[in-house]
């Protein structure tokens, strides 16, 4: 794995971690406010789930170095 590939993988891991932890936290907030009487545990649970999912994705990404990743490109209007 070259240096730039490694850097891109780390960037992808960090972005993924941010999105997943934020999503878990957000869902935890929604469920805490709606069903669980503003307790703290849904937030912790959601953030923890997000962190775990991000860690698992990163681990899979680093352990399969020959798997190529596509990139989502915006369609250019002609």
């Amino acid at each position: 794995m070259s240096e730039s590939d490694l850097g891109r993988k780390w960037d992808r891991c960090l972005a993924d971690a941010v999105v997943k932890i934020g999503t878990g936290f957000g869902l935890g907030v929604v469920f805490s406010l709606t069903f669980f009487k503003r307790r703290m545990w849904p937030l912790a649970f959601g953030s923890g789930m997000g962190l775990g999912m991000a860690y698992s994705n990163c681990q899979h990404d680093f352990q399969s170095p020959y798997l190529l990743h596509g990139k989502y490109v915006k369609e250019q209007e002609q």
């Binding site: 850097g7 992808r12 891991c13 972005a15 993924d16 941010v18 999105v19 997943k20 999503t23 878990g24 957000g26 869902l27 929604v30 469920f31 709606t34 069903f35 997000g50 999912m53 991000a54 994705n57 990163c58 990404d61 990743h69 596509g70 990139k71 989502y72």
Partner: protein, 118 residues
């Protein structure tokens, strides 16, 4: 009767909020593979600043407030990777040269002491 209907309505509203949040997460693939969540982050980065700007413009128009034009923030280009890498290289080369340097300095010190005590 009214209390029961009201509690049912509350449950339905809460359920639809929670269900909507879950559907949004599923639709945007936020908890999926890392490529999709990276793409979602890029979309959010592109969409949020113009939306915030338009909202602030709308608030200014409605309330008549004038926001002062702040100068653009300075672009700090600090290459952390290069400075970290060069730091590691310097430390490792110093460590690898340390035994020979120590030998050289101790020899020089010994010669100096011998000169002095003659």
């Amino acid at each position: 009767m009214v209390a029961r209907v009201w509690s049912l309505m509350r449950f339905l509203i809460k359920g639809s909020l929670a269900g909507g949040a879950v559907y949004l997460v599923y639709d945007q693939d936020l908890l999926g593979p890392s490529d999709k969540s990276e793409a979602a982050l890029r979309r959010a980065e592109e969409a949020v600043p113009p939306a915030v700007y338009q909202f602030s413009q709308y608030v200014c128009r409605q309330t008549g407030l004038q926001l002062p034009q702040l100068p653009a923030p300075p672009k700090i280009h600090f290459p952390i990777r290069e400075s970290w890498n060069s730091g590691i290289i310097k430390v490792m080369s110093a460590l690898s040269a340390a035994p020979s340097k120590a030998q050289e300095y101790s020899k020089e010190g010994w010669e100096f002491v011998k000169e002095r005590t003659k």
